[in-house]
Symmetry: C2
């Protein structure tokens, strides 16, 4: 397996490239429109065939690169079930396994940051957590039908139940961390440690954060797979 973490600095977003080095099939998870040229260049240099773009959710802070990548490569654009996206090639349900060559990518429903959100367990040993679980943090729950209690349940029941040595690769990081483990987050994530469900809900509902700068542009564009008018 080839596994590459890629960073988009303006919105601190991680994109992941996963490929089977035998079949040369590849998938990108959470590509960003601004870094499509970089990502497609890398895919081509590595001699890969992009089969899938997967979204963890409909992003509010950046526009997905999926539409552009689909246009350039003919790859399928996959989104979590219940996402308000008409243009998806297909929808992924909890437990579904997508195969990239011989590499399994399994969807894990992790709602709460938004009302449609999938983490992806890659190769059984690493989980791309999107905005559900961040390193020593978690995604906000105050827009896009987010719900703090739902996020708490998703993390507790569907992520913190994975083996402790499962690597955690988040959708964003704002402090320069690149990777963690489930065991580490269970022990040290300050959003969850020492808070029960009720306390977590109260904490999250009082964060009082400003909206992401790009939300008015990003959400409608992402509901259209990242196809932006006049762009």
């Amino acid at each position: 397996m080839l596994f590459r973490q890629l960073f988009e600095a303006e919105t601190s977003t991680y994109t992941y490239l996963i490929a089977d080095t035998t079949t040369q099939e590849a998938a990108l998870v959470d590509p960003v429109i601004e870094t499509v040229e970089r990502d497609i260049k890398l895919v081509r240099e590595l001699g890969l065939t992009l089969k899938y773009c997967l979204e963890t959710h409909v992003h509010a802070d950046h526009i997905t690169g999926t539409a552009k990548l689909r246009e350039l490569t003919g790859c399928a654009g996959m989104v979590p079930e219940n996402a308000q996206v008409d243009c998806a090639s297909d929808f992924i349900k909890h437990g579904d396994v997508i195969k990239v060559g011989g590499i399994p990518i399994q969807g894990i429903a992790t709602l709460g940051h938004t009302d449609s959100h999938m983490a992806y367990l890659v190769n059984g040993d690493r989980v791309l957590t999107g905005d559900a679980l961040l390193i020593r943090g978690c995604g906000r729950t105050d827009f896009q039908s987010g719900d703090a209690g739902t996020l708490y349940d998703s993390v507790m029941n569907n992520l913190f139940t994975l083996p402790d040595d499962t690597l955690v690769y988040p959708g964003h990081d704002y402090r320069g961390h690149t990777v963690s483990t489930i065991g580490e987050e269970k022990q040290w994530n300050p959003r969850f440690v020492g808070r029960n469900r009720e306390q977590f809900i109260e904490f999250m509902n009082n964060l009082d954060l400003p909206n992401p700068k790009k939300i008015m542009e990003a959400v409608p564009a992402n509901e259209n797979c990242g196809a932006v008018l006049n762009k």
Copy 2:
């Protein structure tokens, strides 16, 4: 082995944490003064004992975190031989192996970006290339006694001779790449591909780059292990 790549966004610098998860001994390579608190917090959360801070070279773009980390933990501060640093705990020569628990970290002389520079081969399968070799790029050679011909020789003779599947972890990245391989850089690094030594020297000597913003502050501070007056 635990291996963590950490990013400092202002100067796009990567710091590396390497630890033996059996003995809990750890080393940091190229720590940055601004992110010492983050790094020491991580070291403590992971239950590690910081034995070494290693520098790939005397940096011109940021101040090392070594003095602060040495003060906080009593770790040794190691620098490449010939570095103009009086305060180092010890100097590393080409071929020297430092052991972090059972993990070997071997110095590979890679002069040219500066006249004292060490890459570190960690665990035999990944090389921390500092500013000698970047992903699809390389460090500049126009100050601190840098020399383009020397850098060319270092990369050709001491890095591109490593096995193709050796992972390349650079000291910086400005485009959001996190890792590459020796094979990939031999095939795709535009600074080296299609240029002989002479052409490389001519190219590097005509880059005409502005000095790093922090050079006047960083170099003297780093020659003092990162101990900054009034800081």
